[in-house]
């Protein structure tokens, strides 16, 4: 059964301020949504509200066709921080996340060495994560998306700190994920390099987001 993501009248608050309200959209399998907007317009807050890490003020988020109706359990969240331990090697980090997260019932993650290869970093899997450069660390954080399967990817500025070739490679990974019937929601300043994505422009501070 193809997945389908419903977001209805979502509003979220940070402290006293209502950051956004009345955000509604539906994404079907194979669709991507790019969230754009100025700094502080609420892109990250929207992604955290979707991932369940920030309780939404109103509205609801649900997913059909995945293992559980709870979006948090059916999605990967790639935030500003990489969720990798500097003291462990790249391989150990990825093996841990693979074991800990497991796969969603409707798909399979890649073996760790294949994932490292897919990110173009083969040969450095034995190094401690802390030895890598910022761009390499970011790429390794993306490898986490591949080792455990989740139908929905929630990406917050995924390509910050990446060079142009890594940008293209990441666009390729996103395209493969969409072709497999996944859903991607990405907050970004740079274009993802994928055709046919929808765009949600955040205007910030209780402004209304427009789905284009």
């Amino acid at each position: 059964m193809p997945v389908k993501l419903h977001v209805e009248d979502l509003a979220a608050r940070r402290g006293e301020d209502l950051i956004f309200h009345d955000i509604s959209f539906v994404l079907r399998a194979g669709e991507a949504l790019v969230v754009t907007g100025a700094n502080g317009s609420g892109k990250s807050t929207l992604l955290r509200a979707l991932s369940g890490l920030l309780p939404p003020e109103t509205g609801r988020v649900r997913i059909e066709g995945a293992g559980s109706p709870n979006l948090a359990e059916s999605s990967h969240y790639l935030g500003h921080r990489n969720a990798m331990k500097r003291e462990l090697t790249v391989g150990e980090n990825l093996v841990f996340w693979q074991d800990f997260m497991g796969d969603s019932p409707d798909g399979n993650g890649l073996p760790v060495d294949v994932a490292i290869e897919a990110l173009g970093l083969s040969g450095i899997g034995h190094l401690p994560f802390g030895y890598l450069s910022a761009g390499q660390q970011r790429r390794m954080a993306m490898a986490r998306l591949l080792v455990a399967y989740r139908p929905v990817w929630l990406l917050d500025e995924p390509t910050a700190a990446l060079d142009a070739s890594a940008d293209r490679m990441f666009a390729g990974l996103v395209r493969i994920h969409l072709e497999k019937g996944g859903i991607v929601v990405a907050a970004t300043h740079q274009p993802l390099g994928i055709d046919g994505v929808r765009e949600l422009r955040m205007t910030g501070f209780a402004g209304v987001g427009d789905v284009i």
Partner: protein, 219 residues
């Protein structure tokens, strides 16, 4: 879950992990006591179990504040919060790994330090046994403090202050059981069983409360 346990153990023995800091602190505290108290062997052997327990309690508190803070700083906590695995279970496994890395070495080091305090074999054995049973409770209680203070920079002192009052019963029953083993009229079993009960009680309450605190602190 075993993956999480092994990862936390690995982290605690690698650079910056701090598993040994607790033991070193424990040794330092106990080793300086004879110099401060003076060479009165009878006095040393009388206060020995209490000193070992106080040292172990403080050493247990030392590394607790990093239990969840390190996970939060690198973003791992977000991923853990989103999983299907109940957060309570994740917290419990993290506590067990933390105890294995920093509590168990204290128990193992305690007989050596008991010799410093001129304790006899029975007293050393009893203290070691009570530490083995009692220190997990301190970790479970500490997990609650660590979860409450997870978002605070320099929360270490706050964790200790939050946790210490709750850890006092562990200290009381641990020390009284250790004394009961060497002093004749007092029975050993009742305080020891209460100590076990405290540990089991906090093994349930601690992870539940810590998981609730972590959920509400995520933003």
């Amino acid at each position: 879950m075993i993956a999480l346990f092994l990862r936390d153990l690995k982290l605690s023995v690698r650079a910056g992990g701090g598993a040994l800091i607790g033991v070193l602190f424990f040794m330092t505290v106990v080793a300086v006591i004879p110099f401060g108290v003076g060479p009165d062997l009878n006095l040393l052997s009388r206060i020995g179990p209490a000193i070992l327990w106080i040292g172990a309690l403080l050493a247990c508190l030392l590394g607790l504040d990093r239990l969840f803070q390190a996970e939060r700083e690198d973003g791992s906590l977000d991923v853990m919060l989103m999983q299907e695995t109940p957060l309570v279970l994740t917290v419990l496994v993290k506590c067990l790994a933390h105890w294995t890395a920093s509590g168990l070495p204290l128990v193992i080091a305690s007989p050596l330090l008991g010799l410093f305090m001129n304790m006899n074999e029975v007293a050393i054995g009893a203290t070691m046994l009570t530490l083995l049973v009692g220190t997990p409770a301190i970790t479970f209680i500490g997990a609650v403090g660590a979860a409450v203070a997870v978002a605070l920079p320099r929360g270490g002192l706050l964790v200790s202050i939050l946790v210490l009052p709750l850890a006092i019963p562990v200290l009381i029953f641990g020390v009284s059981a250790a004394y009961a083993a060497v002093e004749d009229p007092a029975p050993f079993l009742p305080p020891f069983l209460i100590l076990i009960a405290i540990t089991l009680f906090f093994a349930v309450i601690g992870p539940l409360a810590a998981a609730a605190a972590l959920r509400s602190s995520s933003d």
